[in-house]
Subunit: 105 residues, 2 copies
Amino acid sequence: MTTPTHTHTDSSCPAEGLLKMLTGKWKPQIFRFALEGTVRFNTLLRQLEGSNKQSIAVALKEMEEQGLLEKVVVKLKPLHIEYHLSEKGKSLIPIFRQLEQLAAA
Amino acid sequence: MTTPTHTHTDSSCPAEGLLKMLTGKWKPQIFRFALEGTVRFNTLLRQLEGSNKQSIAVALKEMEEQGLLEKVVVKLKPLHIEYHLSEKGKSLIPIFRQLEQLAAA
DNA sequence: TCAATTAGTCAGAAAAACATGACTACTCCT
DNA sequence: AGGAGTAGTCATGTTTTTCTGACTAATTGA
């Protein structure tokens, strides 16, 4: 274990932290699905071709820890877990939309 | 060489490509410097504490290939190279600013 | 009771990203 | 001619990220 002498995090680049929240192989796609409604573990696994349990689990956990998603246990028929955008997550929607528009242009 | 059966790239997630352009250890900070003016190899190396030639070289090259930065040979006194935001790069400025504001809020 | 569906975890391997140190090549100044 | 400053490249090694396959555990429907 190395002692972190300088914890680089943001400081000089405030946008960096937010960017990192959508960084990773699956996070942008997960965010996009969350944009359209509720998201679930096994459903994502099927929707995201080439993905795997581990990566999706880690992505969901990190996005939750970062405050982008909220995890809800739904005590209904099949008893399952849902993830949906938190307020912080929703605050990123306009930016994400702009990225999509720019990409389309 | 494996045949890519599914070239995942964007398709279902248009924002992904743009996001990837600012993904990496140094790219957000390089972009931020480029926002304020011209950027140079050795200067970045000094400005970005903990960075190294290789990583900065690769980041600059990729950002250039992605069309974010333009490379210009300046035939003046010290004869050097400058990188500055392309039109595409400039189109990301408002988004980057919004990220900074959100981060500050 | 058994099988399927839910949502994961864990250890290890493979792949990608990043860092290190040595080296190159050109220009500029003395 | 020599030294410093420009901007890199290259081979190698380390670190981080991602993937694979096996396994766990609770709930549900037949």
